[in-house]
């Protein structure tokens, strides 16, 4: 990952210098080692602060909405999965492609701080990323891990290491690749439960929601100028969850609004301070869409219609929900 970071710094420096781009969108150190924060860099010197490591999970695509409204061209670093969201934003005309310069950066899978914490890691000072091995230097000594054990959920079920959009790539030859798991496994498990069990499961999860809107703010698809839940004229305005219904409602509607558009980037779950597995809602829609209307991956390309803006005359009837087995 250090190799990638060096490539990023040098290319960004060159492009800033010759005026090809006016700003660089990347990550810089946050308050803690494990939270590199999205940041803009205007000068070559400032690029010394650019970081890229196993904790640079935060997706930068969504920042381009505002960034491309300004004058000049923005250089943005996108990991393979971030390019799906980038394409989606292009498709919905939220980002001006002409005003972006995309460097696709190699990714070795991003790390889940929660998993590390659970394994007793605290006080991280730095980290060495050696392929599948990870050495974390902490205040309390070094700890070693197999990288595959501490990946974020979205990385464990990675969509692939191919960049779906880029102007150039910063991908070193020897990048660690890992085995991915079935992204729908948990959804299938839930589908196998009884209706009562599912209800109990979701009540347990969604009742923790504090309506901080982090999921909404991180989501590259939830990019409305004004959310229906913030709009007093929508009839459903709700700034906080006043009851169990509203806890459900917000997430059902949010999932429905992104259905067919969600790129399955997993940011909603990653940023949720209450650790609600929100991606399971989106993946339910993706799983159903794939089963009912054929495989579809939002953000794979800029063109084409999404499943909810097209139809076939022979589509399945909604009764399929009742006919399907299970409880």
């Amino acid at each position: 990952m250090r190799r990638v970071r060096d490539m990023m710094r040098s290319r960004a420096g060159e492009l800033l210098k010759d005026g090809a781009v006016t700003r660089v969108l990347g990550w810089k150190s946050g308050e803690f080692y494990y939270d590199p924060t999205p940041s803009f860099f205007d000068t070559e010197e400032s690029l010394d602060e650019l970081v890229y490591n196993g904790f640079s999970a935060a997706m930068l695509s969504k920042y381009l909405i505002e960034a491309t409204k300004k004058e000049g061209r923005v250089l943005v670093f996108l990991k393979p999965c971030d390019t799906y969201s980038f394409n989606h934003l292009l498709k919905e005309h939220k980002v001006d492609r002409e005003k972006t310069y995309v460097i696709g950066v190699g990714c070795g899978g991003m790390l889940d701080i929660e998993k590390l914490r659970a394994l007793g890691v605290k006080g991280i000072e730095s980290m060495e990323e050696l392929g599948e091995n990870l050495v974390i230097h902490t205040l309390y000594g070094d700890k070693k891990f197999a990288r595959g054990d501490v990946l974020l959920e979205k990385c464990a079920t990675c969509k692939g290491l191919e960049h779906k959009a880029s102007d150039e790539l910063a991908v070193p030859d020897e990048l660690w690749e890992w085995e991915t798991s079935d992204r729908f496994a948990r959804v299938s498990e839930l589908e196998g439960m009884t209706s009562g069990e599912r209800f109990a499961f979701w009540r347990g999860e969604l009742s923790r929601c504090i309506r901080c809107n982090a999921c909404r703010n991180a989501c590259p698809v939830c990019s409305c100028n004004k959310c229906v839940f913030d709009n007093p004229r929508s009839g459903v305005i709700a700034k906080a969850n006043a009851d169990t219904f509203e806890e459900n409602m917000f997430h059902i509607i949010r999932a429905f609004h992104v259905a067919g558009r969600c790129t399955d980037c997993g940011e909603c779950s990653r940023v949720c301070p209450q650790n609600i597995p929100l991606h399971l809602l989106n993946r339910k829609f993706i799983k159903d869409i794939n089963a009912f209307y054929g495989e579809y991956q939002s953000g794979e390309s800029v063109d084409g219609k999404s499943p909810l803006t097209e139809f076939r005359t022979g589509d399945v009837e909604p009764g399929i929900v009742h006919e399907r087995g299970g409880a």
């Binding site: 959804v187 839930l190 589908e191 209706s195 009562g196 069990e197 599912r198 209800f199 109990a200 499961f201 979701w202 009540r203 229906v228 009839g235 459903v236 006043a242 009851d243 169990t244 219904f245 509203e246 459900n248 409602m249 059902i252 509607i253 999932a255 429905f256 259905a259 809602l281 339910k284 829609f285 159903d288 869409i289 009912f292 209307y293 499943p307 909810l308 803006t309 139809f311 076939r312 005359t313 589509d315 399945v316 009837e317 909604p318 009764g319 399929i320 929900v321 009742h322």
Partner: protein
Amino acid sequence: MPINEEGAAFKPLIVAFCCNWCSYAGADLAGSSRLNYPVNVKVIRVPCSCRVNPLFILRAFQRGADGVIMCGCHPGDCHYTSGNYFARRRMALLFSMLDYLGIERGRTRVEWVSAAEGAKFANTMNQFAETISALGECRRLEDIRCVESEI
């Protein structure tokens, strides 16, 4: 049949969204043919099934509906040529999601009813009411504030 506190038989509240051109006319035909269906089925007229926003369905459950049914023109017969095709996809996904969240799947339904199918409309409503009666009151998606304010 479930019995509520007062001892009266439980009568489910059912909201039916009907498109103006086929299903609402089908409901009218059920009426002019004097076909009975439960009194607690209440029809809301929309121009097309594609006008039915998931928000409306959730709102109905929130305010105490026990079941929600959407009726539209048969696929291929939409007055607006393709509205019901979009509605079909939306409702298939929404109802599957509600089921996934533990809202009993019997509480939601889509039926295509043409203007000539008064009998189908009445039968559908009778069957749907029976299904909901068997499921009992919808407790899983309602606004507790509303229920309390009624007491």
